[in-house]
Symmetry: D2
Subunit: 152 residues, 4 copies
């Protein structure tokens, strides 16, 4: 599906918002690609991100799925809008056993107020990608509510 | 609802599993209470855990909701079982604006293979609790698959 | 939680909307109770509503969960508003084996635009209620969009 | 993705199970296509299936999404297995305004016990398909539990 961004600066807008998320920096997430209605983020393996078996923690996988969905949706929103996740649902399909997590999200429907995304998280091991989670998310556009203001 | 744990050591079992999750330590999460079919975990505010407005990141809120559900369910499982999150769905209802996140989860149904939990995340500000998220989770019991083994 | 309906006629408003849903009549659903932020609907057993084992079909259970959530939320909305389900997530916990389905929903959060509900479906057999499903729903209020107009 | 059915009679198995669902007959649903890990079902418009605006009821849309997921998953299961929906999450993206509903589902992951599907529901009007809902489902395989037995 082809989407038309409402802002010419949609890539910069996403990059700046991503850079303001201290949690993304804390877990070593890297914004890899932004297209209209699409986003890809990577998280390299780090012992701090693990659960009891030494694999990527479900919380990290969920954070990644939520973030790619948020920025896929945000890429289509107006310059002056902010975004919030309304809800998401995540299926964990394989253990996060690998050296890199890759999250990708595509907008499924970009409505006036709500945007729906589908995302997948892949885990890479020895150069092979394997799907480890899939999610479906609902995001809301808050018009005239700049993303970098702290009052909301 | 009253649940009967299958293991006498259910509290210790949960504490030990929690202690093995490096990600929980990394984000400063503290296991507060474990009862049969119930779990409470706290996460104090820390700038590293924030999104672009300086509030608790949705990924942290989701991680908390997932973890309390996992341990509420794990409290009812057999000594020799391991647990995995099958899926969860999270509604974010208010910004995570406060100095402490409190996650609480209750088992709704403890089946032979699958356990269903409902969880709430509250954010505390100036001593007042406000609900900020609610989730519903499905967990699976892996029999004879000790929680502390790394092969799975 | 105590909710304040914005319309004095909230019960009548719900009853009239329910009466306009031909599908509810078709499956024999009965609106039992409406309170601010709460709704209860019953569906008596009927062979037409069954799946391959002769139990209530998951589609009926989901329809019930969705409808009680919708009307619990609608009870709090303005007289001139219409409502749409944005999404819902349903866990089926026991077979729908009984002579009556009871759906109950409570509003968890009544926001300006979005309302979040939690619902439970019980199946009655020989006079005993057993939980058979639980859901969590997001509803949207469409202001100035009367519920009985067909254009939307 | 390519899936290998475990039963040579997977199409007949799905057809027979579908035929036993009285609710599918009641709402006029027609099984259109079954492939390994895929299912398509249609529901023609009928006033009995409508909500308050005369469009397909969300309950019908959800029933369709649940059923295509169930049969996409069932197509991959063993001859002697039965299937149950564990849970599903549905986003309603456009009103069900049209003369035909088309549900399609693909298996995303076919695990030993659990199968995950993604489904879409399209509404047709004047010969044009428009996506109206998307879901993500978890199904469980009950081994040695024939689909046509009523005790379970």
């Amino acid at each position: 599906m082809e989407f038309q961004p409402k802002s010419d600066n949609f890539i910069q807008k996403v990059e700046e918002s991503f850079a303001r998320q201290k949690f993304m920096d804390f877990i070593g997430a890297r914004l890899i690609k932004v297209e209209p209605g699409f986003c890809e983020i990577h998280i390299p393996y780090n012992e701090n991100l693990t659960q009891q078996h030494g694999f990527f923690h479900a919380g990290i996988i969920g954070s990644l799925a939520d973030n790619v969905a948020g920025y896929a949706a945000f890429s289509l929103m107006e310059e002056s809008s902010s975004i919030l996740t309304v809800e998401f649902k995540l299926n964990l399909m394989s253990p996060g056993d690998g050296d890199l997590l890759i999250g990708r999200s595509n907008v499924l429907k970009n409505g006036r107020t709500l945007t729906i995304c589908r995302s997948e998280v892949f885990v890479c091991k020895d150069g092979k990608e394997k799907i480890c989670a899939a999610s479906q998310s609902t995001l809301i556009e808050l018009k005239n509510s700049a993303d970098n203001k702290t009052e909301k």
